[in-house]
């Protein structure tokens, strides 16, 4: 059912666990159906694009539009590579097993010497998004401070909005995160954080504000069971990242051009519409300053 990628480093137990995940099933399904055969995949012609849950990567129709646009623009087959954690995708990118990946600003900054942002998505006219702390719709909590003693759902240890922001905010407010929440766990997906809070598995959760908004249109019955308790300042939107060495290569530039061309093709427009994004722009020097500031708060604490 699931194809094992030659570039995969995941152990058998990890794969067995993934086998049951619908998200991964969909990825495997699209990869096996739309991906190039093994013989062709070995050729450099296939562009390997790593995906993470910074966007709703479980929508195979969206992936199909994205693939269709990129293939047409780049003139190469596109291979989507999905892993459960940001860490795994980052590792693949660092090892050169991926040509590019849609990552969060936090892992980018963690590896700033070796990775670089190629492009930033535009959301509501700006390459910015916010982190949100949500709780169940019927709860009276008004601020992050009211959530003491909760079971809290984080997205990913390497997620800015789904972990770093809440952690640094608690530290900034002189709370000890490990004591503030009675218990916390990672769901490895912003959508899963919303599900966990909506179903009552967690009393509160840290979620990507962009994902929460998009989900509100796609799955209002789920999102309406949650509400925002606290919202962060603006951060640089999760960027398309490439190896710093490959930033100026023709391949990367072709990929950048393909991303910039998205509003101009049918498939690109459809993909953007589903993503509720306006397009892609070049990053600026200060795009991830605020994330870096959050990282410093955590680092200072040690």
């Amino acid at each position: 059912m699931v194809r094992e990628y030659p570039s995969g480093r995941a152990g058998p137990a990890r794969l067995a666990a993934m086998r049951l995940k619908r998200r991964m099933f969909m990825a495997g399904f699209t990869a096996s159906m739309l991906g190039a055969p093994a013989v062709l995949r070995a050729q450099p012609a296939a562009f390997r694009f790593g995906l993470t849950p910074v966007f709703l990567d479980n929508d195979w129709q969206l992936l199909e539009h994205l693939r269709s646009h990129l293939r047409a623009e780049m003139g190469r087959p596109i291979e989507f590579v999905q892993r459960r954690t940001y860490q795994e995708v980052t590792a693949l990118l660092l090892m050169g097993d991926l040509d590019a990946a849609w990552l969060c600003g936090f892992p980018l900054l963690q590896n700033r010497e070796r990775l670089a942002a190629l492009a930033l998505p535009l959301w509501q006219g700006a390459p910015l998004y916010r982190s949100r702390v949500i709780t169940s719709a019927g709860r009276a909590a008004q601020d992050l401070g009211d959530l003491r003693g909760d079971i809290h759902a984080y997205s990913d240890p390497d997620s800015n909005s789904g972990h770093l922001v809440t952690l640094s905010e608690l530290l900034r407010r002189q709370h000890r995160p490990e004591e503030f929440f009675a218990r916390s766990f990672f769901t490895y997906g912003h959508r899963n954080v919303v599900r966990a809070v909506a179903r009552g598995l967690a009393q509160s959760g840290s979620v990507d504000g962009y994902v929460w908004d998009v989900m509100r249109r796609h799955e209002p019955e789920l999102v309406d069971q949650t509400r925002i308790v606290w919202e962060s300042e603006d951060f640089g939107f999760p960027p398309i990242v490439v190896s710093r060495d490959a930033l100026e290569t023709a391949q990367s530039q072709r990929f950048l051009a393909a991303l910039e061309a998205m509003p101009r093709t049918d498939a690109g427009q459809q993909a953007l519409a589903m993503l509720q994004l306006d397009g892609f722009v070049l990053p600026e020097a200060h795009s991830f300053e605020r994330i870096a500031a959050r990282m410093r708060i955590v680092a200072e604490r040690g």
Binding site: A16, A17, L20, F185, R199, G200, L201
Partner: protein, 467 residues
Amino acid sequence: MVKGPLLAAGLLVLVGLLASQLVLRTLVATQERHLREMALLEFAGIEATVGPFVVRDDIWEMFDLLDRVTRREGSLRPLRATLIDPLGRVIVSSDPRLHPIGAQRTEMIAAATSVTAEHYDLADGEVALSQVLHYQERALGKLIIDFDTTGFVAERERTVTFLVIGNALASLFAALVGFMVMRRVLRPIARLTNAMGQGTDGLQPIPEQSIPRRNPEIAQLYDNYNRLVHAVEERNATVKRLAERERFVSLGRLAGTLAHEVNNPLGGLLNTVDTLRTYPERADVVKSSADLLDRGLRHMRDVVRATLDTHRAAPEATALSRADFDDLSLLIRPEAERRGQDLHWQVSLPEGAIDGLPSGPVRQIALNLLLNASAAAGYGGKIGLRLAREDDAIMLGIQDSGPGLPDHLRARLLSDAPVEPGGGVGLRLVRELVQGMGGQISLGRSPEGLNEIRVQLPLAAEGGRDA
């Protein structure tokens, strides 16, 4: 005649009920087996996957797994799945609002049924099944899955409804058929019962054209019955003849007495006539002879009239009165005197106390019993008649100093047993007359220590029960 077919119908209904019970039991067993197989598959599937998640304390993956299990559609849907650690605390549940992480749920483990249990209680629409999960030979905890059994309950209810309606219809049909068949089988018996049991009409023979010759057993039964009817008819005719004869015997005896009674004064009267012829000129002799003749002839007239009154053609037409007992005294006295018997006559009722009783039958009853008493008392014995009022009846007691009524005569008087010829003149006649008036006969002793036959006759205001 309805009992037999009803019994058959009842038996069919009983068989239907037993069959329904069997079907239901089989259904329950099938449902439990189905659920067990499903549950074992479910537990095995989760056990094969959840182990690494528990070891890594990966709450989200455990929740996602249990949540997916409960999202399946169809009957026997797992409603919720809850994983509980060996200390009874919730590790994770697909319904975290009901069973939050870390909540103590020892009682939930106790209430759950082991998946390997022999029987499950499916009636509540929900059943909690449990199994200990293992990973790498280590017990992870207990998994409890609540299965939705409303489908089973509904299926049972549907089956029960179907069975009840189906059985009712089938039983009704079978009972109807059984009823018809039994009725057909029992029709000859019903006919026989009808022929035998028509109230007082007695036994009716079955006409030859109604005897089913194709059915030899029934034909033989009918033939035997017809023979029985003829035998009974003959017997009844014989009894009737005997009763008639008794009546004539008693009449004959009375006639003898009457002849004697007429004959006795006749010699004296003829002598008186001779005296009259011899001394026609002696006025005193003529007068005394004429008086003597007058008395003798009057006595004879009275005796003849009493006899005629007793045996007149329509004796019931006249009401009973004190005069009837005077007549009876007149009729029995010569018989008693002939035997040198002492006659006690106690008729001390006020006039009108015996109104409403017919004269003829009472006279016959009393006369027959008195004649028998006289015969039983023997020479120099005692006989008597006592008439008394008892509530709404009169009691007629006939006494004698004889040895008492022997058994064969007692049967004539007190039972309907067949009458042997001879002896006990008119006793069966007495019985029939008393029964005809709605009365009763009993035996006893008089205050003087004599045998007494007591006849109680109701004074029916409406004029008798059986005229």
